[in-house]
Symmetry: C2
Subunit: 524 residues, 2 copies
Amino acid sequence: MAHHSEEDDIEFEASFSGKEEAGIRTRLIALQEKIREANVPVIILLCGVNGSGKNSALGILRDWLDQRQLDLHAYERQDVQKDPIEFRRYWCDTPMNGNTGIFVSSWYSDPMVSHAYGKTDDDALYKRLDECNAFEKVLADSNAIFCKLWFHKNKNDQESFLRALDDDPYEKWRVMPDDWKNCCMAEKFEATTKKIIRYTDKEYAPWFEIETGTFTERLRTAMNVICTRVETQIAALKKEKEKKNGEEKKKKDSLKKPNFVKTLDMKAALSKEEYCEMLPYLRARLNALLMEVKKRGKKVILAFEGPDASGKGGVISRLASSIFVRDCNIFPIAAPTKEEINHNYLWRFWTRLTNQKLLTVFDRTWYGRVLVERIEHFAADKEWKRAYDEINHFEKQLANGRNIVVKFLLYITKDEQMVRFKAREETDYKKWKIGSEDWRNREKWDQYDEAFDDMLTKTNTKHAPWFVVADNNKKYGRIQTMRLLCEYLEKVLDYDPADEVPPPENEKQAGKSKKNKKKKKKSA
Amino acid sequence: MAHHSEEDDIEFEASFSGKEEAGIRTRLIALQEKIREANVPVIILLCGVNGSGKNSALGILRDWLDQRQLDLHAYERQDVQKDPIEFRRYWCDTPMNGNTGIFVSSWYSDPMVSHAYGKTDDDALYKRLDECNAFEKVLADSNAIFCKLWFHKNKNDQESFLRALDDDPYEKWRVMPDDWKNCCMAEKFEATTKKIIRYTDKEYAPWFEIETGTFTERLRTAMNVICTRVETQIAALKKEKEKKNGEEKKKKDSLKKPNFVKTLDMKAALSKEEYCEMLPYLRARLNALLMEVKKRGKKVILAFEGPDASGKGGVISRLASSIFVRDCNIFPIAAPTKEEINHNYLWRFWTRLTNQKLLTVFDRTWYGRVLVERIEHFAADKEWKRAYDEINHFEKQLANGRNIVVKFLLYITKDEQMVRFKAREETDYKKWKIGSEDWRNREKWDQYDEAFDDMLTKTNTKHAPWFVVADNNKKYGRIQTMRLLCEYLEKVLDYDPADEVPPPENEKQAGKSKKNKKKKKKSA
């Protein structure tokens, strides 16, 4: 077995007796079985300096756990720094329900090192730790079990450990370039560590500190901490679930009257001539604006919501025709796959945002959480109510990561929906677009109205604004969406491509009168 | 509808009558239904110069097909050039069964442009086209339907089209930087095109050439070609399947006697002392060699095969302990997921090779095709027989892409397996490792021996050699594997880290005697 070190070895492997090893391994394997049964994700964080036992703990877990339910994640700090959206990588790597993800240092690594080296001050540290807390909170709220271990090692022990490695020709490869530097700066690291632990020690994601001691003692403690923490949490979750099943709730709230509809002119329409004049112009204008976005090293993310048959696909197709296909990704979002349903609801959007193109369009979005999941009770009350904050924070992260985020609600009247449903049923090549689910959703029209209203009120942020577009007339809806998007990009970029793309005559006049009522941007 | 252009527009959209549009859309939607039923992947390639109708065809397909069964892929030529393994990206993007993938230019783009610009000669062109043919062949062999369209456009038409775009303030964004250059060089492009089409026009992946004409005519032809090709192929596949079901085969071949076992010393063993002396040494040596691999901008891919309980996990764990976790990915390969089973069998290995780390280890591999799939008849005879060539080509691509590929077969005797199975059943924390499948596989021991033998004979290539290790004694197996790997890396790199990592005394003597019998590397 790898973990029985010889007496004369440098101590970086635990030497458990055969009996103790068997005990720990049996407990670990039983733990994985419990995790599978509970169907929740477990996130184990191993932090600490090199030689503190962090890597040995990782080795033991890798050898002793069933690797099929285990993901290991260790990152190069430089790679992570390159990504403008800091947590994208960690989000994509979150384990699925029933699995365990072990992360080495990860989201605490860069805040820690930057602060200890004096490159960032306390304010900057705490601001970054806020992000760590938020990340852990949203996952813990969806039942992820966190177990964060910090392996301490005092300066003297670090030094003699590094010296022993350096002296051994077969072990000196373990000494990393920065190890001696970090050892010298041990006091600074300890001070930063204290701040980090105090600030991010939360009930939903507590820290367990492993104090200096022999390797064997520390690893024994670590394994015990991991097992106890996860066992306790699983038991607590089980109890909570039973309790919840007991209370039969789902009280019917009386419906509020939606506000957003009042401001919409549902009769707005365009003639074919107006449409054909405006489309090439707006396409060119949008293209010029998107090229400017590219030039500035930014990207655009568009979110579309709206009732069934509200014309999202048609609008998106016109928008997308303003750039080459290689610059654009369109994601139609349907019911989640089995893999997706076994992750936090934001995961399937995070993963679609790797290798981002200039323009990313979501045809239905993360707002499903506060729309269909709310109305169909796929999400519990407290889950969808919490989601507004989670979504705002998600979008804020995208915006901080050099993205321009714009959201559109395309709205139609209930009567217009009926006209379109019937047309779909009667047209051979459109039949596939309509199913029993659409008719069921239609029955809940008023509930959706209310949910739209809440969504608009609670998530219309500066970094990711909503625009509501009346789409009873498809030509109007398409032109209006493109126009609003162009105006918004123009404002955000403080750039007007009018020289390159001169507006047609009619638009010039419209532009003038529009400027007088600029305030009403949110409705259309 | 987007595709009715006004009379005065530059012609880059088709103007179908309402009735014709309905006809095409109905046919396309029906086609998707057939593709889903047939459960095969469809790959549509759209090639040609800008303005030839390629992008319009793409737009139509994007608008008219059900996007949920559709993937669009357009690449920046520069991005693709950056990847040392040319086809990795295309492999990962192959559509799953029942889906359609539309690729713009893609694997023909860089060979085409390089040759037309005179940067590569005919020989280089044909060599690259060989790769295109091989890629399409392996997919077509697993029932992918190819439909490759080349949109021609003569120089005069190109020129007037570009001029018209340039003159229109709303359309000139469509002119790409290289468009005029390529137009000037139209004769060269035509000459290259002819060569490409002639060389890669295969029955399993034929070209359909769309000649100059009005946009509407060309798009009509394109849609017709796509539908006809896919419909015909689906019908042919259906017929073939029925025919196959008729012939009841599975004739029992008599078993050949395996050769590889004869050369193995199954009694080879190491004492605990020898093991404990050698492990830190080989770990340090392997580390030094891997750092040298990194310095040279290369990577290492290891493949492990062997009977159940042959000790693959233990060997891999010792190997991996020679570098930091962040430099290493270990992939245990179990039964394929639903998504994996709906792709070519190589897909799940290609996708695991994106974001490659320094060391990638596969615990069971693509050789499953010629082992378990052969023996359990999951693959038809012609499928697994074809697989040896496919695998050699797969590994060749990895090796060409700056990878060092090494394969190990860890072998134990049938008696030793029984000892280990029993130990697993009797040890609490090892019980999960053994199931009824293992016992079933054991019954087919001789068939596996024969399959191992064929595998070793047919896939022991210069760019990806096999090493067979007797692992009845785990200590010997671990040390021997690490030793063989070190020796191979030393040879390939022509680099000996002996100065940095001096061998222990015993090893020095062993090394001397070893040099005398160097030829027998393949067996151990």
